[in-house]
């Protein structure tokens, strides 16, 4: 997305356009309309960050009104994202619940949920909204430009970024957990068994995922910064590994995720702020990070990389996570079939965890099996994966790198669906 400035004329024209869209929907459905927009000060009304926040909040709106929603219309203009919901509820009730959504979080302050009655009149809130800077009634501060535009913009930016930090960290943890519970996964810990692992189980993985939330928040913050200090990112990664190890009693559950998810969070934050391409941004962070941690101690990935010239986590990151993107595309194409996405990842990944434990034979076996299962009818894949799981356990091999890329794919699908 190229971030554009908008003009007063565009904003004004768009408001009238919005009013006409509301009237059209009312005429068609004879029901009140919930008209949703973002309330962003300044001349940039649309960035990937604004779109993300809006999409997350629309998820809440859909959750709140659920079955009462008769129709929905969404559009994105240079003046910002918009959504209209035709809701089968009384306008009074609708307004009350809309105000609750606006009021219950800090970021809700940047959300405008207007209720338009069937006669075209707008329901007003009982309590006027408060100024972003001083907390007083906003109409007066805004009309008189009491605090200057810069202060208002900066307050809005703080709210947006704080929300994104928390949300992205939660979604990252959630992606790790969804990957962990997905069953059956060959050789990996899942809901059926501990795969080819003797030192970890599902409970440990879930708890380990939770231990990374603060680190993930930190990565987002790094990505938002104008001139990020990469040595701090490297240190945070090492700290996160320590936290993870102390949580798991010394078991390396998510070292790959600390690396890959951490870098992608930096990249996605940078994209949210200034547009461009989050995959290229994270590749950039990976390159800078590699330089900053050149003297770092070895990992399994490094040892195997040297031996087999295989890609591993670092190459994935330096190339902007092509395998995770492929997994995300598979998720979209299959309407969220996570096992399908895992197989699409397995068929092509040069997984250093497999190479470390079982050499080229293990890698060839897993890739060939993945291709074979992908060629099957979708309903037969689960049984085939169960068999493959048993074989991986027998061979004592586990595609841990693929698991990390699957978690990343799940995260990509939730956070940047517009780029899949």
């Amino acid at each position: 997305m190229i971030i554009q400035k908008t003009t007063l004329e565009e904003v004004l024209r768009n408001r009238e356009k919005r009013m006409h869209a509301q009237q059209d929907l009312i005429q068609r459905y004879q029901r009140p309309i919930l008209s949703c927009t973002m309330n962003i000060p300044g001349d940039v009304k649309r960035t990937p960050l604004i779109d993300f926040v809006f999409r997350q909040k629309m998820g809440e709106v859909r959750c709140e009104f659920g079955g009462e929603i008769i129709a929905e219309k969404r559009q994105c203009e240079v003046t910002g994202p918009e959504a209209f919901f035709v809701v089968d509820a009384s306008p009074t009730d609708l307004k009350e619940r809309a105000v609750t959504i606006e009021s219950q979080s800090r970021v809700g302050r940047l959300l405008d949920l207007d209720v338009i009655d069937t006669d075209g009149t707008k329901r007003s809130r009982m309590q006027p909204r408060s100024c972003l800077v001083c907390g007083g009634p906003v109409t007066i501060c805004s009309r008189s430009r009491a605090h200057g535009l810069a202060a208002v913009k900066s307050a809005a930016w703080d709210i947006l970024t704080a929300y994104a930090e928390a949300q992205l960290a939660d979604l990252a943890v959630d992606a790790l957990k969804r990957e962990a519970v997905l069953t059956p996964k060959p050789g990996l810990v899942d809901g059926n068994n501990n795969g080819a692992h003797r030192d970890m189980d599902l409970g440990l993985l879930l708890s380990s995922a939770d231990s990374l939330r603060l680190y993930f928040q930190f990565c987002v913050d790094v990505g938002f910064r104008e001139a990020p200090d990469i040595s701090k990112l490297v240190n945070a990664g090492l700290e996160a590994e320590k936290t993870m190890l102390s949580r798991t009693g010394g078991v390396n559950t998510h070292k790959g995720a600390v690396y890959a998810m951490g870098l992608f969070l930096c990249g996605v934050a940078k994209y949210f702020k200034q547009g461009g391409d989050p995959f290229a941004h994270s590749a950039f962070f990976a390159a800078v990070q590699a330089e900053a941690s050149a003297g770092e101690r070895s990992s399994h990935g490094r040892i195997v990389q040297a031996k087999y010239l295989a890609g591993g986590a670092r190459e994935e990151a330096m190339n902007g996570f092509p395998t995770a993107r492929k997994g995300a595309a598979a998720l979209t194409e299959s309407q969220g079939d996570e096992l399908y996405a895992l197989l699409k990842i397995l068929e092509g990944i040069r997984d250093t965890n497999l190479l470390y434990r079982g050499g080229m034979d293990a890698l060839d076996y897993v890739q060939a099996q993945a291709r074979r299962i992908l060629a099957m009818d979708p309903e037969r894949r689960k049984d085939a994966l169960l068999e493959m799981d048993q074989e991986c356990i027998r061979l004592n091999i586990s595609p841990g790198g693929a698991a990390d890329m699957l978690a990343l794919a799940l995260f990509i699908e939730r956070t940047v669906p517009e780029l899949i």
């Binding site: 004004l12 009013m19 805004s142 009309r143």
Partner: protein
């Protein structure tokens, strides 16, 4: 500019103003304004409306304005657009604002 019919511009959204202009032959500019910030800015909004109409060469009109905290630039733009619509001029020049 000669007003031919009723012209409306604007919405009821926050920071906007809904302006309706009606042509009149005499009696000057009559403004009926309601505003969410009437006490603080009512006079100023009226002044901006008057000035904009004067600039357009409109001496007689009745103006109905419902303000929701619009800035001066928004008030000016909405009055202009309402006037162009009332004058039945389709291709008004946005750049002139």
């Amino acid at each position: 500019m000669k007003l031919m019919k009723t012209g409306t511009a604007g919405t009821m959204e926050s920071n906007d103003i809904m302006v309706t202009l009606e042509p009149k032959e005499t009696g000057g500019v009559q403004i009926a304004l309601s505003s969410s910030v009437m006490q603080q800015f009512g006079r100023q909004i009226e002044a901006v409306i008057r000035q904009t109409l004067t600039e357009l060469g409109i001496a007689h009109a009745s103006v109905d304005a419902v303000d929701k905290g619009a800035l001066d630039c928004t008030v000016r733009a909405r009055v202009r657009t309402a006037a162009y619509r009332a004058a039945d001029q389709q291709n008004y020049d946005w750049g002139a604002m």
